[in-house]
Amino acid sequence: MRCPRNMTLLKNKIIWKGRGNKSPLSFDVLIDRVILFLVVGSLLLFILYPIFMVISTSVYRHGVFSLDNYRDLLSPGNLKLIKNSLFVSTLSSVLGTFFALCIALYTFLQKERIRALIYRLLMITLISPPFVSALALIMLFGRRGLITYNLLGLSVNPYGWQGIVLLQTLGLISLAAIMLISTLNAIDKRLILASRDLGAGTLQTLHRVILPSIYPAILSVLFLLFTINMADFGTPIIIGGKYKVLATEAYMTIFSAADLGKAAAMSVLLIPPAIIAFYFYRKNLEKNNSLADGVKALGGEGLDFRLPLFIRIALGIITGLFFFLMLLKYGNIFLSAVTINVSGKLTFTWKHIEAFQFAYLPAVYRSLHIAVIAGILASVIGILLSYYTHRRQLPLMKPIEFIASLPYIIPGIFFGLGYIVGFNNHPLLLTGTTAILVLNCTFRHISVGNKAANAAFENLDRRLEMAARDLGASPVRILTTVIFPLLKSTFLLSFINTFTACMTTVGAIIFLVSPRNVVASVLMFKDITNGHYGLGAVVASVLIIVTVAVNLAAIKYLGREGGKQYVA
């Protein structure tokens, strides 16, 4: 190495700088504590407290403890509901997981370009305002459906469990496929090469290496879908006909009987399956980590892996069919926005769009506002939570993390109910404010960012943080200069998820809206339940377009730099 021209530069500066004298509790450390306090405090206040309030609603009647609401919870009528719920959810989740797996495998085996394309399409199909799929189904395949009646001349009755299963299956395939594709991409390609090298055929490799290594992920996807389907009230309400499920009845109990206690008790029934699902997810996460330990995935390029033709064709057909149905669905939504259905004949109209302009823009704007803030907050809190729990390994953070995952797995209405019951009094008077919507949306989705961050941290060298501290950065500085920049893509993923969910959510916030803080998704829900399908379709279209636009902007802004490659 060259002798430095300017040796004094180094010599002179070798001094103590007196920094060692400062007490460890400097300003930055204080900030660190404050952030930790805010994270933990907010999780307790905005998740644990409302959940506690709902449960207490179900056991306190006018201030007196009573288990009345639970007494007839297991009545024959409710048992039937439970049975229906289990049946429908199981079937939809199994089918959904199966088709998602097919699509994921198909995608995994494509060239980089096509893979990226499918992945993006799947991301877009994640944006699905509730109810509109059901409407699309009715309009396309109903008794006067465009396809069943107009094209095929059939009069099919779509109402019943078949309709629910069909819609729930289709509705969650995108989410499941995205999760599975990520897992497939994380498989060490060398395993596959090694298997081939050791003489296994492609089919055997699929059977012996690929599927077993994503088996835990398949299980956790299955359970996630199951939980979501169990808690889904929107699909059965529109397409279920006389087929009733638990979530729908809990919802009806609130709206028709206005019996909060009983509704809360019914929702409590939905929690055990959710917790079981979560348990599997956790187990899977641990297993996955041990699998991926220290193994860096090779790039997928140049991996020559061809399944037998008939399987490839089958996978291709399933993938194609799925996207075709999605096309129908979105096409139908946009079409419904500008047409009117007259006994099965479509006529063009501006009526819906005119009605929309009139009253809905402030609500759309408010939705956007809320979803952006919630998306940012939820992602930041989720990442911080992961940082304090797994990176700093602070004591007692594990239970906090579990608390943070609760809102994601319990029914939305239940969580919304908690807010309305918990925050209607001083000093926590939030009723009717925009803040209550932001908070609800934020804390409902902490889990997404948290889990993504957990995965990202697994792949992030701890020594980066050590290096940063070594170079004089305090814990807070490390957050701002190392952790967040490196977790950009995690942030992006979490933001898009939360943002999309908040733009389209109804269940959790239907109780929280009032005239001054109404949002677009709730208006859409009202229009649809009032039979104004055309107007509902306009709102849905606007929501879809706005959501896609914001997601693209986020990808452009955050995904531009290659933060991704380090977080894999």
Binding site: R19, M466, D470, A473, Q565
Partner: protein
């Protein structure tokens, strides 16, 4: 003394960690921690760097107890195993990082100071490069510049050369040494490569299972190892039993002479250029002998030889001979 480790113990569990570690390091010294994988080298550096808190013992720098200072306040810097460069920052920003946060310079000043360090490690022209696109050797230089840029009193280097190929390693090793001499930086260097340790160090700390077994100059360690473990870890050694006593002899300290009635037979010959290794065996012993220079060509496989021992390890060593510390 610049640095004193006073009886440091840090145990992760009952087998892993370091125990009762004493070390004093003088200004401008180049100390090497040498030992097999898992013996606690990184742990020792992490304790000095402040990333771990010792269970027992104290760490002093220039007469101050720094045991409880956080890393960002310690006047030491680390070049990490596999460098830990910030992937989202370019070369210049990496080097400037510590100048901004440790030396608390303004951003502009930090960047211009960083350039000087980049020049020192001869990476001019790469300031704006993403660190992920640099070669291993270049990354190593960035890591070095980044660590030096905080003006540490002590530079800790955790196997900085281990990811590099042999020839690059050789040249970087020399550069590192000359840099250390010129700038007078005190360095603690971790390696499990004995030739690196011998060639670079003022003193070597040989570690095993969390213990510092011997501390001494390269010569002391090589010629007067205090135990067969040390002797075995640094250089090769033959174990001989003579009149009921076990002794250790370096291969180059054995002289062979051709003798048709000799006790030993040459069973294999490995020609290495500068020297040649011979494996010779008698009924119950097998020895390794190294012969340097022309003498080489005299011996053939199957020849019978007699041997003379010119130096025997441990005989004149300080302290107890071959006393292996009681473990656990």
């Amino acid at each position: 003394m610049l640095l004193e480790l006073k009886g440091i113990t840090k145990l992760f569990d009952k087998d892993n960690g370091i125990r009762d570690f004493y070390l004093t390091v003088a200004e401008r010294e180049f100390i090497t921690l040498l030992g097999p994988s898992g013996c606690g080298k990184t742990t020792t550096l992490n304790l000095i760097g402040g990333f771990l808190q010792p269970d027992r013992g104290e760490i002093w720098i220039e007469g101050r107890d720094i045991t409880h200072l956080p890393p960002e306040k310690r006047p030491v810097s680390t070049v990490f195993q596999s460098y830990a460069l910030f992937p989202h920052l370019n070369v210049l920003e990496n080097v400037a990082y510590g100048i901004r946060f440790y030396r608390k310079e303004k951003k502009k000043q930090a960047l211009s100071l960083a350039r000087e360090y980049i020049n020192i490690v001869r990476l001019e022209g790469y300031e704006k490069s993403k660190v992920g696109n640099l070669s291993g050797g270049q990354q190593q230089r960035v890591a070095l510049a980044r660590a030096m840029a905080t003006n540490p009193r002590i530079l800790l280097l955790d196997e900085p050369l281990s990811n590099l190929d042999a020839s690059l390693r050789q040249s970087l090793r020399e550069e590192l040494k000359s840099l250390q001499r010129q700038l007078g930086i005190t360095m603690i260097f971790v390696t499990h490569d004995q030739s690196e340790a011998l060639s670079l160090s003022d003193r070597i700390v040989v570690m095993d299972k969390g213990y510092a077994i011997q501390i001494g100059t390269p010569r002391e360690i090589y010629f007067y190892p205090i135990s067969d473990y040390v002797a075995g870890f640094i250089g090769k050694s033959n174990i001989l039993t003579r009149v009921g006593e076990t002794i250790m002899v370096r291969p180059e300290d054995i002289k062979m002479a051709k003798n048709a009635q000799g006790d030993y037979t040459i069973s294999s010959i490995i020609f290495m250029g500068q020297h040649t290794e011979y494996i010779i065996s008698a009924e119950d012993t097998t020895l390794e002998v190294v012969v340097v220079g022309k003498e080489n060509s005299k011996f053939m496989q199957g020849d019978r030889v007699n041997v003379t021992i010119t130096h025997q390890l441990g005989q004149t060593g300080q302290g107890d001979r071959f006393v292996v510390p009681e473990l656990k």
